[in-house]
Symmetry: D2
């Protein structure tokens, strides 16, 4: 870039403020022959939402580019973590941003609500893209007035999403990446086998303790034994390939195993960053859920039970999405199958040592025990 | 208080820190022969919650004391507003405070979760008292494993709540206070009659417009007319004493009318503070709902689908309360029945003038128009 | 607006997303032949700041339009309060928004910092306009590298601000509005005289108590008496027209008196909203200060002591503005002169009654005592 | 613990609520013969602050225990990061918690301010301990009314702090830990030498560019050359042992070098967690500064320029601490000496490889390039 041009850059030109600050066009018209005062706020709030969505998408794209590789460089994992951390920070801001919207009262909203008729936040292409990139499947989406979400989109947007749908989502990329985790299965070590045994031992031990407890009466004992049975059956949802189908697992078995392994042995140097990444994804999922819920509360406050243009209330639709639109729910469900640290299978030394850094080997540095 | 004693007061003695900072007693015991590290955090988080609940109760008690009077001094309304505003600020903090809890991972939680067996946040007497004081009714409460919430409380706490239940709740006190609002019904003016007429006129006008619109085809016209009918039927839930029963209104009809009046004519000097108070109550209700929801998300993250001691998962119970434990839902539902400001009945001058301040009358101050 | 056009409105067209989402133009170029990743974040953060500034300005303009009138309708005061409340909510968001910026590390910033050379946030016209509208005076502004802030602005922006400077600021409008407060001076009542007497009585009483306290030794007594003298001298800064000049008061004496009156008798119906407005202005002032401080911390973190293009560090400049750019500092200073409620002069009944609502007079409603 | 006892545990007993909720003892007495309403809030706010301080101290103690070892296990670094992350989350909450305090108005505060005479938050032992543990030195502390902070503490607290002062602070432990970083100095590689050369090359390159730029006139060229000289002199503060004394560096030179190295090569697997830890410490430092500043603003709002019992205003003291009580300022200052990534010395392969994980070596896993 020639020096001359650089010097011409001003704050205003760099940020494109000339047009940015002229992009608010309230269209309502009150008796006073002016737009309703609160329409400006309404526009600015939505515009900032869209700008932030653009940034979250930009970060998620980087994550996808890295995790989508056949083999991921360890150095790149910090970038994945940084992009997810930033996305989480933005989503936290966006949840809080609803405070601004709620400075508007329902009566103020009525002053201009009619102007956008069927136009609605429902049509945000970027938000749909975000959900899709993360891994929300079309089949699990809530319907709005019996119609699919993309019936409400202009044709070009629908096309854009259809193309995107053919590409692997972050959830799918994460699945492949997890499935490749070494350590879970190494010469002389099968985590899955070891874990299954540890769970079995734990339950057997508990059963023994219950039977040996002389202070318990028969009823109490039966209740405790029943609880134990329930737990056993629950673990079948994980271990028993036949019953796993009863769980709405989205991850492959291999990925599930690796995710469990990472959670349980997270202190191993090679797992610290992967563990953090799984956590960041759960944060992101939670914040999206929280955003939907605050959104639903706001819709209820603004419109009560007023019908949307399609015939069902915005509040009801949003409440549906809260349950259905979770993406990384496998990661949440996994904690069902954690067992206390004291019962965990111990890692064989040759497995554990491979999860460490290389410098202990050959740099005279003394390794602590 | 004698001067000597005053001088003895130190920061430490004033706040009772000696005992406060000795009140954390972790009881877990790990292999390392020490309590699990995260138990301290768990205790401190819950203790601060309880301290804040104490303060919210203290503020709500002041609100109840004032609003429970047969006649409320205008000067006291600022106190009501201040106490509600503070309660809202505290609830906002408490929602955010879950961030601290979420710095604990499920595996850390497992290290000490077993120690409190059936003890659970479910047994927080203060939170039950708060719900009850605000106006949550026993009948509407969600059950936990088929049992009522008070089956889980010690006898003395149950007794405390039973006594409290006989006293009027804030919702009931608000109902009486609203019902006494002058202006809604004054010589020569009935808001209810005027509003009903305005709604009727609005709908009739819309119907006329639809029929006159030559660009619409028959189908479109039928759809629009049907929407209008739907709206008409919805308004019956407000106006038609017979159909009002279909709505789960908790307010009396008189209170509903006044709440609507206050919302619609909120700019009148005498209504500005009442309007703000209704808003504060909605904020409080929303924040309680949000707190429950974040709580449910956290339970899911910590425990997955692990059963609580009673046999159902904490997450499921909490999700139930979100829908059922709303208190001031009438205030949210009311916005269904707002009509645009331009269609509102105009207040007769003799009604409007009484909502103003007295000083214009007799202090040479020139009143602006 | 013809019905046809209305139906064409989509979410995308209404918000101008086509151009809004194409307005991010990173100009850095790394070795990888692509812009530095974090430049996108940098642009989006600044663009959202500018959008929010536009909204705050829009709200402050409404406040100025109302408060700038010769006589203000009571009904409009709710609008003033709503606009200030919204501005406060936005500023709170903007303080939090720095969290996003701090997801960037200094090394990431270095990747593209050079591209905007002398362009800087310093050139934000809207922020300058906000400071000016609120009432920041040119003389009190901190200099940056010995130059005035407007030396850094393009000519057209400088012109815009010069025109604005000739119009009354919110601080000046507030001064006029406060100065017109009735009640402070009414037939048979002068607040100023009464307050001065109350302060005098309080100090005299304290002096008497000290002298009468036999348990105090001479040294302690002298110390207490000296403190009392200090307090007396401080009150001269308020009461003594000659010494008031020692305080950097920006309000006229009449406005100061009214602001004090409003603070002390805030429970009177006619003062509840004015009191809230003074509080909102203090919130706004505080949040602006907080924003500057977080900004300074961030600059320090990103650049350490690196020089800005003008030769002094951004951190140092920002730290200067924190002290100098406060606007409603008179409102903060006023609390120096509050005396305990129990020592306040009681309002004569004819003054107090005029601060009440009119409806007690002539509606059968029984006034509470 | 015997099973029987476990079953007795209730929510109430576990949290010690019986005494916790009886520990609020307002001592003011208004004309109405009851404590001032806002005193309860004042007590609860301070009690929750102290509870949180206890938790932060507990976390910092864990960090110190780990980092204070002669050799630190890599697995423990996740614990350090978790404890710092939690401390940061708590401090963020504590900054926000001032919102609750600001629901009190100055006049409300005056109702009970006199009761605690010289007792003040200044006497918080835990906060002093926190500052000391982190590494604030006695000499750098701001004085309050010419007295040292410990003149205000009871003798037993002073003793406690004196003992603590003899133990290494976190800052000192961090210094040792950093100083031991391998990689910075390895056979065939000296980071310090390489970095110094890179800086020299960068400056020489810039100088050449300036002289070669024919479009610049003599004045502009001189200015640019001067800037470059300034930069060179600044780097002497880092490289030149003689001039380093001009900087208030608290870290040893070895620690400084390692901190710089970690910042610049943070993507290397072995540096990702150390980098995050340095960042967490900066977050903590920033939040402590922010808390002090909000505290100062609040003091100003509550008391204006009212004197504290010692003769200087709380606001002035707090503003002093903001500048003086920063602890990890070296980490902030370091960014002054970062150079763009493209100019960084490249790490020799034998150094870089040692920062990787061991598993690439001998597990058939194919290492990505």
């Amino acid at each position: 870039m020639p020096a001359k041009k650089k010097q011409d850059i001003t704050y205003k030109s760099y940020l494109g403020l000339e047009s940015l600050l002229q992009s608010q066009h309230p269209i309502s018209m009150t008796a006073a022959n002016a737009p309703a005062h609160d329409e400006m706020m309404f526009i600015v709030v939505h515009q900032t939402y869209e700008l932030w969505f653009k940034l979250v998408l930009f970060e998620i794209e980087r994550v996808q580019k890295i995790l989508g590789q056949k083999s991921v460089k360890d150095a790149d994992m910090r970038l994945v973590s940084a992009s997810l951390g930033r996305s989480v920070a933005i989503m936290r801001l966006l949840v809080g941003q609803l405070d601004i919207m709620e400075t508007m009262t329902p009566l103020d909203f009525l002053d201009f609500r009619h102007v956008f008729r069927s136009a609605s936040g429902f049509q945000s292409l970027q938000f749909r893209e975000l959900e899709m990139r993360l891994g929300l499947k079309k089949e699990t989406r809530a319907c709005y007035s019996g119609k699919s979400y993309d019936d409400f989109l202009p044709a070009e947007d629908r096309g854009h999403l259809q193309k995107l749908q053919k590409k692997p989502s972050l959830l799918e990329q994460l699945d492949s990446w997890l499935s490749r985790t070494p350590f879970v299965e190494m010469t002389g070590f099968s985590f899955w086998q070891a874990y299954r045994k540890a769970v079995g031992d734990m339950i057997a031990g508990d059963r023994k303790t219950i039977h040996a407890d002389k202070r318990m009466n028969a009823n109490a004992r039966d209740a405790e034994i029943n609880k134990l049975k329930g737990m056993e059956e629950q673990f079948d949802l994980l271990f028993d390939a036949g019953k796993a189908g009863e769980m709405p697992w989205r991850f492959s078995q291999k990925a599930l195993q690796a995710a469990l392994f990472i959670n349980l042995y997270r202190d191993q140097p090679a797992l610290q960053i992967p563990f953090r990444i799984l956590n960041d994804l759960m944060d992101l999922d939670e914040l999206l859920a929280l955003w939907r819920y605050r959104h639903a509360l706001m819709a209820q406050r603004m419109l009560g039970m007023k019908m949307g243009s399609g015939g069902s209330s915005g509040h009801d639709y949003l409440m549906q999405t809260i349950g259905k639109h979770r993406i990384f729910s496998d990661l949440f469900a996994l904690s069902t199958f954690f067992i206390p640290r004291s019962k965990l299978p111990q890692l064989p030394p040759h497995v554990e040592s491979r999860m460490g850094f290389k410098y202990w080997d050959d740099t005279g540095v003394k390794k602590p025990k």
